[in-house]
């Protein structure tokens, strides 16, 4: 008979760039100018798109929209650490991740304007469509990564989900499976403090979300999600581990949703303006701008150029998306390889009614 400790674990927290833009030199990945600027520009583009999309929704030119504001670094840092062949499997607040993957703003606007075409990516873009049912995409990502492993490819999947999804069965089943089969999947939980109106404190009694990985036998790490460099470094390490056959990683990105949950939400009902203000001071773009400036990669002229370019890109993308001629048959086309008889009949009826 005995009583002894059989297991012990700990969770690390990683921050490289603090809120004021000071860098920890020993942790700085020292990326080249081009990469750093692409990170910055992608975040700025995402924010410009956000602003326009909300305005379009209020004008009736776009349906319910999900703003990314505040979470740009968590998405851009991680996607830019991945290879082109790696899969990006999003939830529904991943505009910046799509942009980092090279998806055009036109495609993203098409999605929010209600077109199936907005889920059509270029062949080698390796993105999955927006997934509205909470947590359902996590299993898809594990499947994709498992396939890569079986095929012996040096390829992984990154999947995004929120603090709310970490309470869903989909997440736990997927994490367990990925742990057992050592699947190269990087689980990125963007802990933005709210699952619609449910605060983080009501989500789980666990001290961290990262520690949930421990239960499934793999590594979890907490990262400052508003620090694009920390997200890059943590994801890079997780991906390398995955390629080497050493299994999955859970990254808990601590961040904050600055805007409303969606254009149909009024966050004033469940959170204080003071709290939002406090998080604005931790803005991912502002601190990264300071870092670029200190490294001599940023000046006013560059900023003006980046902002103007983003504004132009937004305008052109809206124009293209609004000029898109939808084919009503698209509604039926993409769920099954071959249409089921009842869907075929419904499609016929719709065509007749449109012609008649």
């Amino acid at each position: 008979m005995s009583r002894k400790k059989v297991f012990e674990a700990q969770i690390e927290y990683l921050q490289i760039l603090d809120e004021k833009g000071n860098v920890d030199a020993s942790l700085d990945p020292k990326l080249d100018e081009l990469t750093l600027k692409k990170m910055y520009e992608t975040m700025v583009r995402s924010r410009a798109m956000d602003k326009k999309a909300i305005s379009l929704q209020r004008q009736g030119r776009c349906y319910t929209y999900v703003p990314t504001e505040g979470q740009e670094a968590a998405q851009v840092g991680s996607v830019m650490a991945s290879k082109k062949e790696d899969w990006m499997v999003p939830a529904f607040r991943e505009n910046a991740a799509y942009l980092a993957k090279g998806v055009s703003m036109r495609t993203l606007f098409l999605y929010w304007m209600g077109h199936e075409e907005g889920s059509r990516f270029e062949k080698d873009q390796n993105c999955f469509p927006v997934s509205i049912p909470v947590g359902s995409q996590v299993g898809h990502a594990v499947g994709l990564a498992w396939a890569a492993k079986i095929q012996g490819k040096r390829q992984a999947a990154i999947t995004f989900f929120g603090d709310g999804a970490s309470s869903e069965g989909d997440f736990h089943e997927s994490a367990n499976f990925a742990g057992v089969f050592q699947i190269p999947c990087v689980f990125i939980c963007q802990n933005n403090q709210y699952a619609i109106s449910t605060p983080r404190a009501r989500q789980t009694r666990s001290e961290t979300i990262a520690q949930k990985a421990i239960a499934y036998g793999f590594e979890g790490i907490q990262v400052d999600g508003n620090d694009v460099l920390a997200m890059y470094v943590a994801t890079k390490k997780a991906l390398e581990k995955g390629y080497a056959g050493k299994g999955p990683t859970l990254i808990e990105a601590i961040t904050y949703r600055i805007a409303a949950h969606t254009t149909s939400d009024d966050p004033k009902r469940y959170r204080d303006e003071a709290e939002v203000e406090a998080w604005r001071k931790k803005d991912p773009i502002a601190r990264f701008q300071t870092y670029l400036k200190k490294n001599g990669f940023w000046n006013e002229a560059y900023e003006k150029e980046v902002q103007e370019k983003a504004a132009r890109e937004v305008e052109e993308a809206v124009k293209k998306a609004e000029g898109f001629q939808a084919n009503p048959e698209d509604m039926f086309k993409y769920l099954y390889q071959d249409l089921t008889p009842d869907l075929r009949q419904q499609m016929q009826e719709m065509k007749q009614s449109l012609e008649g």
């Binding site: 209020r58 004008q59 009024d266 004033k268 009902r269 719709m350 008649g356």
Partner: protein, 404 residues
């Protein structure tokens, strides 16, 4: 030649049908840019800014603040001055254009769609009522539980229907019809509920404000230096909140269904604010734990927000007692209606110099009548009398509030 364009009021939520215009942010004749906010519209509880979809000049704005606007109807016309206006019909066709018409032969074959929530459907099945024969009063003809109850009353005939409220029909005459704003509708619903359900009694007491006036006079300059106005109302709220601690019955709500009184843990005092659009009562949370200065500061902030219609929902709910200043314009006495689900409300009437007897002599004192309106189901006259005696004692001997 170009024709000016209508901008239609879009569905800014998920399936809203209407909103109330709060205010215009542009005027007719103003230049306007794409994405520039043109109006604030209240839908359900949130106020949203509507941006313009076109560049040009505002040729026409439809409706005025307080008007109910319908989704799909024109909100604004934008164009160049002198351009011909599109007519209203055109705007309506525009919104109908995208609708896919159902083929006629099918329309006649298919039964009309019944809109009812599952709970109503289940209740109807249980009662053996065919929902296709019930007319719905909800949005889009949705059948509500109430509609079903009415239909049941009809089916079960006379005895049941005698309990139903009779609706009187009036000849309203020919005057101009003004739709109620959301705020007016809310006040109307809450007040008529209160009037029908609560056993209102008003107990009146008088208070000598002399000592309090002096105290306030001494502290006023200090408050002004700190940047806020020290009002008599702040002292009143402080005294009421402190007194309420000993009278939980008046800081309570009655759950009639369960025959239980809910004694609230917090003392949250709502303060009536008269705004252009009607009465709004923002709430001072935990008023008993706050100083007079803090209360004065907070009331100032809340009143300003109330007038600008910028109060958050949180600042409007969870009140447990209301203080309403009914003497600010004039009058001798007024009785208040309870702010449900509270059990009491204090009406503060006008302060006026009146002759009163002190030590056998007639003297002139600044007197005020206080009216405590309470729910007789919850408390009795003797409770109210004791409450008021304590409150008056605290107001006439205000040294305990000296520190502000």
């Amino acid at each position: 030649m170009n024709v000016a364009k209508h901008m239609l009021f879009p569905d800014v939520g998920e399936g809203i049908r209407e909103g109330t215009l709060v205010k215009w942010l542009v005027k007719e004749g103003d230049p306007v840019k794409e994405d520039q906010p043109i109006a604030e519209v209240e839908t359900d509880k949130a106020v949203v800014e509507i941006p313009s979809r076109d560049h040009g000049t505002v040729l026409k704005l439809y409706g005025k603040p307080g008007d109910v606007i319908l989704v799909g109807k024109p909100l604004m016309t934008v164009g160049e001055p002198g351009e011909p206006m599109p007519d209203a019909e055109e705007a309506i066709t525009e919104s109908n254009e995208k609708k896919v018409e159902v083929p006629k032969k099918e329309a006649s074959a298919a039964p009309e769609r019944i809109l009812a929530p599952p709970s109503v459907r289940a209740a109807a099945r249980k009662a053996g009522i065919d929902l296709s024969k019930v007319s719905g009063s909800g949005p889009g003809g949705r059948i509500t539980a109430e509609d079903l109850e009415k239909a049941k009353g009809g089916a079960l005939a006379a005895p049941a229907s005698t309990h139903q409220e009779k609706t009187l029909s009036f000849d309203y005459g020919k005057g101009k019809r003004v739709p109620l704003t959301h705020l007016r509708k809310t006040i109307s619903e809450r007040m008529s509920w209160s009037w029908r359900h609560v056993a209102h009694v008003t107990y009146i007491e008088e208070v000598d404000f002399g000592a309090l006036k002096e105290l306030r006079g001494r502290n006023k300059p200090k408050a002004e230096q700190m940047g806020f106005k020290l009002t008599p109302l702040a002292y009143m709220v402080k005294a009421v909140a402190t007194t309420l601690k000993q009278y939980p019955r008046f800081n309570a709500s009655l759950d009639e269904e369960k025959a239980e009184l809910i004694l609230h843990d917090e003392i949250n005092v709502a303060v009536g604010v008269d705004t252009e659009e009607g009465l709004i009562a923002p709430v001072l949370k935990n008023a008993d734990q706050k100083s007079v200065f803090d209360i004065a500061k907070e009331i100032g902030g809340l009143s300003e927000k109330a007038r600008a219609r910028k109060l958050s929902l949180d600042e409007l709910r969870a009140s447990t007692f209301t203080v309403t200043n009914i003497g600010s314009v004039g009058g001798v006495l007024a009785t208040a209606v309870l702010n449900p689900p509270e059990s009491a409300i204090l009406g503060v009437n006008r302060m006026k110099d009146r002759p009163v007897v002190r030590d056998g002599k007639i003297v002139i004192r600044p007197m005020t009548y206080l009216g405590l309106t309470f729910d007789h189901r919850v408390g009795d006259g003797a409770d109210a009398a004791r409450f008021m005696k304590d409150l008056v004692e605290k107001l006439e001997n205000p040294a305990w509030m000296e520190k502000g």
